[in-house]
Symmetry: D2
Amino acid sequence: MSDVKPFLSDNAAPVHPKVWEAMRASDRADNPYDGDALSAQLDERFSDLFGRECAALWVATGTAANCLALSTMVQPHGGVVCHEEAHIEVDEGGAPGFYLHGAKLMLCADGHGGEGAKLTPDQIAAHIDPIRDDVHQVQPHAIAITQASEYGRCYSRAELEALSAFAKSRGLGLHMDGARFANAAAFLGGSAKEAAYGVDSLAFGFIKNGAMSAEAVVLFDPEQASLAKYRRKRAGHLQCKGRYLAAQILAMLDGDLWLANAAHANAAAGEIASGCGERLMHPVEANELFVTLSPEERDALRAQDFAFYDWGADAARFVTAWDTREEHAAALGKAIASL
Amino acid sequence: MSDVKPFLSDNAAPVHPKVWEAMRASDRADNPYDGDALSAQLDERFSDLFGRECAALWVATGTAANCLALSTMVQPHGGVVCHEEAHIEVDEGGAPGFYLHGAKLMLCADGHGGEGAKLTPDQIAAHIDPIRDDVHQVQPHAIAITQASEYGRCYSRAELEALSAFAKSRGLGLHMDGARFANAAAFLGGSAKEAAYGVDSLAFGFIKNGAMSAEAVVLFDPEQASLAKYRRKRAGHLQCKGRYLAAQILAMLDGDLWLANAAHANAAAGEIASGCGERLMHPVEANELFVTLSPEERDALRAQDFAFYDWGADAARFVTAWDTREEHAAALGKAIASL
Amino acid sequence: MSDVKPFLSDNAAPVHPKVWEAMRASDRADNPYDGDALSAQLDERFSDLFGRECAALWVATGTAANCLALSTMVQPHGGVVCHEEAHIEVDEGGAPGFYLHGAKLMLCADGHGGEGAKLTPDQIAAHIDPIRDDVHQVQPHAIAITQASEYGRCYSRAELEALSAFAKSRGLGLHMDGARFANAAAFLGGSAKEAAYGVDSLAFGFIKNGAMSAEAVVLFDPEQASLAKYRRKRAGHLQCKGRYLAAQILAMLDGDLWLANAAHANAAAGEIASGCGERLMHPVEANELFVTLSPEERDALRAQDFAFYDWGADAARFVTAWDTREEHAAALGKAIASL
Amino acid sequence: MSDVKPFLSDNAAPVHPKVWEAMRASDRADNPYDGDALSAQLDERFSDLFGRECAALWVATGTAANCLALSTMVQPHGGVVCHEEAHIEVDEGGAPGFYLHGAKLMLCADGHGGEGAKLTPDQIAAHIDPIRDDVHQVQPHAIAITQASEYGRCYSRAELEALSAFAKSRGLGLHMDGARFANAAAFLGGSAKEAAYGVDSLAFGFIKNGAMSAEAVVLFDPEQASLAKYRRKRAGHLQCKGRYLAAQILAMLDGDLWLANAAHANAAAGEIASGCGERLMHPVEANELFVTLSPEERDALRAQDFAFYDWGADAARFVTAWDTREEHAAALGKAIASL
């Protein structure tokens, strides 16, 4: 396997050495549960990062992070507006139905200004305003967006402002799925604050970006945070040895390792993109590339040891990670350009 | 803190060096999800250990392990018979209500031959037979027992045979909460097979015994196993980098590290017990001691740097672990004997 | 069957003639659903009756009424404090688990001043205060009491004031199961307002008291009412031809038929009680009697055509209804006195 | 209101005189609950009607009937394939999410041979086969079809055979929403058996067709039936005085009143259809008409006292019922023809 140039998934990337170090360093804790000294630092560290008061809880997966956050704002009889290709709709095995006790995902397609699986206020309004107050129809309680989106697109601060204002106008919560939040923040200039502007909650992903098993649920409303703590325990996500999860996250925050790792992955994606030209199905703003490639072309690339997934019949998806080697990215860009 | 002699909780124990090693060694995997090469070994390894066909899934907590297993045998309108002090009833923050969608925990107290939070067929029959087929009352679908029990008592093979036969006679599943299964197996002679005789599922705990974040759900019915896979994903417990969890479990199984660790903890508990005499509230069969101690006596012990929890007004709980130092155990036994 | 003197259940009573009349009179409605002219009157009619603003929704069963009301104040991760013999715990087939999405019933036994399945603040405090804010334990969100209680006991205004103040002090909702609310109100002097003093919601029963298929969920908080409307639809309890349910309830309210019917049943129960002496297990305050009777004595009564249920091995339960014939009640009282 | 010619909804129709009679006649029952003598007849009566063994339970609404039936074949982690305009998706306020504990509605659009909200095997296969056995995606457990469909179209015996065979081939249950099953059966030649060919369960509607508050859940699998009984109680749908619901259904079955009522409504719809020509958006096979009509044309009809709902911007929906007066239908047909 030594020759493989891996672009299958950022989940395949190893754990970052600094994360390993931090985990080893926390082998003994004063308190066995999340009251441990490391977990206790999270609220303050994230409040500093986002420049506003928040609470932060570790959980083992992005699915749990998204669902716990949503469960604090969506009642079982309500709904969550999201894109029809949102990860919570298509890739979480029905977890939102479980965590939200049967609440409904109310799906928007691209259009009304939305593209690349990004949502706009107009899109959402067209979907929910006609059914307002109709007791026969599920009413929305929240909006969920993905930063970066399922097609690697990022919401600018202006777009987030508009969504946040719209959500408030309709009495809805606004949640951000940030499985690749770091990549989005890196693209948007490096400010976590701007990249999560106006949201009520954020599932801040670390696992694809160098951690092993810790994501953070960040809640900007103290009442939500209290609910989330009980819901986390109830979901079997309060780990006995939570200190090891806290250690991972703290290591990622230290010296902005999260941002450096993401910038590296984005740069590698950019390098590949420079060879793709018209083949790019979406602008490359984070660490994913969706590239039009015929079956023969894909075969040709695989013959050169590039590993990646097909994306439907006529395209492929390439994902870079914090450990992507520059020469692999450069080689892939060239190989595509030469097809 | 260097002088503390810790008996608060086995959750406070560090990760075993061999577990660390195994985790580090799995930094790169062929396949990002649970199809990885390490996770793929689990079914066979546990089938060997138990001497019968089974499937095994990692999850991050015992709460999730118990609830996932139960969810494969209990429908939302059914119930689970358990002891009124069972961990699933008193310490899991309502997780069974969540995972089982509102199914009912049907509580038995000690009596009818049961003691130390252990259940007997007579006890259960007295509870469930009178309401059989009454549509106004929740009907049981499964029985949950804890090995070792919440008071550190172990079910013998004969007791398990009786429970298993009873469960079958009533059409019920039989689940075993094995947060301290290793300690029970060590007490019972070292055979995993005997210690889990006749059960349909087992939550096999590793975290208290040297692992970091991996428990195993062991399912002895292949149909259950298929359900559990979907339910795990749906509960947000399918970790992207599951290879690190598989690695922990495999390290614990290698050379029966799980058993050696548990035997060490049990021996330490026995050492302490030898100093407790009449003070012992329950026979010591695993790694927990419940000891009658007045507030003044507890103060005296704490003044000698022993750390432990109160157990009600007139007792204390001591827990040993895989890393308990023999001199600490011996000192504690002596200190209690000298009170 | 013409000689049977029926004391099995008030559910066996027929529909009152005035209720039949009102149903027939509503054969055509302007609007097919609950926006119909009859349903639209309910809020105002109940607000008048209770002397405070409320909303009222019809549903087909007391189980649904209780559960819908509770669902507006209890989140899935919370709990409901109730008596261990409360109807919601022992006779509703797990409906609270369903409607509350796995929330927990937190059971109190008699004691701390409570008797006959009535709760007191002291009892509840002893149960819930020790676990306050413990994330491993389900936290209470509401208290549910039954008026009249499962043993036919009534809460006085003073008792309700104390419970209501206690609930507020702990941030809990207070729900009243009023399957026999009319009988309690009749006992307490005829004021619906006093009999439901301080509660946040009431399941006001009409079916046992002369209606066919309509109970009222009465909600004293407008926000609860809005939630309950969506939850009713979601539970399949929004009937197409709801006008026929509204008609039943309005007929029961007209001229205080509900109170007259209940007073009749209570008087019949009192007549029977006068023959029971020391045999009464609970003071008779409503329309149920629990009477110590040996198997032979019960046989003797049945030989005289009295129909009733056994209550355990050494007692019987007798229930009177709006249509109980005075001569039947008198005969039963005499028959018991003569045993 | 005397001049209104009502075509708003069959829910607005009154209760049929024979149903009233039957209800009055059941004022006293031996047994208060569903073990009453009337309810006990249902299984046999429906088995006769369908020519195969089945169990039948009354419930108060079609929503509850659909959801209870589905709950016997769909686990919480599974899905139900249905049309994107299916009543369970768009008009039941999220009830399937509640009753199925978060299972997913997997939506098909018209196409692959399907039209008028009818499903075909090809359509369903295209939707579900590509995700088979993918643990990240909800797997289907059942198919739900509507007879007559949401656009008044009927499934022929041949179409049902194909769907049933397909469902079996994929291991899926097949449920039929029969809110207007009687109208479909009347269109298909009058055989209940043919109109429900091959389904595992049927929500058989009576309320729109002359009953007051009783639909039947018909279950062709005895195990399903047992589950449904517990689920009905748990959903608060087991009515104390269920004998009145049984009476309604038995009255509808007696002398095939259900079929006569539906045939009347269908004939009235046919009469109207004869005046609609090209304006018909769907062939008229039951008692609903979807007719292209401009706002001005709708105003003109309303000025003539015809009552009906708009259907989007450029159409209207007319519904006939068992009590539709022939002269009203004829007048409507003529009025449309004259526009």
